[in-house]
């Protein structure tokens, strides 16, 4: 068996492959994702068609992430919101009718942008508490599957047998749960999770 060093990325610590910069990944998770709720508000505030929000958010993330892979920005909030703002302006330009009232409001959230955030440990504790709350709010079957898989550590087959459903249904509940947990954790304002949307 010949050695093949070019395929040896055993020690890189990340399973996202050698092509991906681990520093950008960590930075994105640690610094950018916690801004999602505010970023969503900003986008909703400045874009009429709310069914576009998910796509807009994704585009902001892609731009921010690709920039970070070249160089990690010093100031996270200003960078993220400036990116969002420029993207919205670009889109408005390409829009058949430019929604003027929205443009004037684009910088309204610069206040949120400058506000000091809670310190990292507070965020971490708060997020874990919210994660717990989020699991409790999943639809019952989905929640049971998530708890058994992620917390009890049962296999897909064991869960299927215990609940009398097929392994594919278990997987479907899990993927729903994975999406819903991230949406609740990042997508909702942290202050009061019960606040009506």
């Amino acid at each position: 068996m010949a050695e093949n060093p070019s395929h040896d990325h055993e020690s890189d610590g990340s399973h996202l492959g050698a092509a991906v910069a681990p520093a950008a990944n960590a930075w994105f998770v640690r610094e950018v994702l916690p801004l999602e709720a505010v970023l969503r508000q900003y986008l909703q505030h400045n874009w009429r068609d709310h069914s576009d929000i998910e796509d807009l958010l994704q585009d902001v993330y892609v731009r921010v992430y690709e920039a970070a892979r070249r160089q990690i920005p010093d100031m996270v909030k200003p960078f993220v919101f400036t990116t969002a703002r420029n993207m919205l302006i670009n889109r408005m330009r390409n829009h058949p009718v430019v929604p003027i009232e929205a443009v004037t409001d684009l910088d309204a959230l610069s206040i949120a942008m400058d506000a000091p955030g809670p310190d990292r440990n507070t965020i971490a504790r708060e997020e874990l508490r919210r994660l717990q709350a989020a699991i409790d709010r999943l639809p019952p079957r989905c929640r049971d599957v998530v708890v058994m898989r992620r917390i009890e550590g049962l296999s897909r087959g064991e869960i299927a047998a215990r609940m009398g459903i097929t392994p594919d249904t278990v997987s479907a509940h899990l993927t729903d749960g994975i999406c819903a947990l991230s949406d609740m954790l990042y997508g909702e304002p942290a202050a009061d999770p019960r606040r009506p949307a």
């Binding site: 069914s51 639809p139 009890e152 550590g153 993927t175």
Partner: protein, 329 residues
């Protein structure tokens, strides 16, 4: 899933990618996940940054959900639906406790990007054997928490607290690494014991050889190659290597049989040992009683048996006070 109240407004493109990312995440935690699957995932991720950010976002939350398992008390095989309710009430009970681990858990951030990490934990008096993907076995003693990333490419274990006995399957291409705070043990295939508490760390080698050294950024200079019979005791900034007889090593492993073996052990140390396993705490009152030395073997969960011996054989006074058994001269 339109019944979910928190469902954000949906736009098709992002939604599609999100669902695909969730599906990858779900699949990669299955037992049958293999190198070829990993290559397919790597390919999908490198196709576009949109794929990568969607995956990172879901993984960050999902990886964190595993932290909720840290405080899980292993539930005996029950067969019926009972454990589920137990787990849920445990979650609620430990909600406050979770906050404590959170700081350490998330301070890193990077750990979220590692391959699937499994968490194994035992409660007070617990004892659990875990068989890993690579055929290695780990036996967890009382109040032990460890995390493992063991798959086709990685063999890494973090001992966060407690004590564990490792029987490592031989694989020269993939060293097995056990990390305990700022020290680590690197092995190819062997049997060894690691114990970690707040102030000290002990590694005892039963078979084969292991390398013991600081992790990056840990205390420098000290590194040792340990052979069978070697024991290293390392408090915060020092290291002491000594050699133990096979008899002594066997005694150290008494807990694997559920027993504590004492050999010229002071009652003060006896109490510490018993108290690692039981809610009922043994208190030895007064320096004279604490210095008495005993030999013998006791069941780890039988404080009462020890108390009877203390009374009948050593002539000590024994008093039950709620959760405490107080032994005095």
């Amino acid at each position: 899933m339109s019944d979910l109240m928190f469902e954000p407004p949906v736009s098709a493109r992002a939604r599609q990618i999100k669902e695909r990312a969730a599906s990858w995440l779900e699949q990669r935690e299955r037992d049958e996940w293999c190198e070829r699957d990993q290559l397919a995932l790597d390919a999908w991720l490198s196709e576009s940054s949109a794929h990568t950010v969607a995956y990172l976002r879901l993984e960050a939350t999902w990886g964190r959900a595993a932290r909720l398992a840290v405080l899980r008390t292993p539930v005996p095989e029950a067969g019926d639906g009972a454990p589920r309710r137990k787990i849920r009430s445990l979650l609620t009970t430990f909600a406050a406790g979770l906050l404590i681990v959170a700081g350490a858990a998330i301070a890193g951030g990077l750990y979220l990007l590692r391959p699937v990490e499994k968490v194994y934990a035992t409660a007070l008096g617990g004892h659990q054997t875990v068989r890993l993907f690579d055929g290695s076995n780990i036996e967890l003693n009382t109040e032990t928490t460890l995390r493992a990333i063991v798959d086709a490419r990685h063999r890494m274990v973090w001992l966060d607290r407690g004590e564990a006995f490792f029987q490592i399957a031989h694989d020269t291409k993939h060293p097995f690494i056990v990390i305990m705070g700022d020290r680590r043990v690197t092995v190819l295939g062997t049997k060894f014991l690691v114990r970690r508490d707040a102030s000290h760390l002990e590694v005892a080698v039963m078979e084969g050889r292991v390398r013991f050294d600081p992790t990056d950024g840990g205390p420098s200079s000290e590194s040792a190659l340990l052979a069978s019979g070697d024991t290293v005791v390392a408090p915060a900034n020092a290291m002491l290597v000594s050699r133990k007889s096979s008899q002594e090593l066997a005694e150290e492993l008494g807990w694997r049989r559920g027993v504590l073996v004492f050999d010229s052990t002071t009652l003060a140390e006896v109490a510490i040992e018993f108290n690692r396993y039981n809610r009922e705490q043994l208190v030895i009152a007064g320096p004279t009683a604490q210095r008495i030395k005993i030999d013998g073997t006791f069941r780890a969960n039988d404080v009462a048996a020890f108390a009877r011996v203390a009374q009948a054989v050593l002539g000590l006074h024994v008093e039950n006070r709620g959760d405490q058994v107080v032994v005095s001269r």
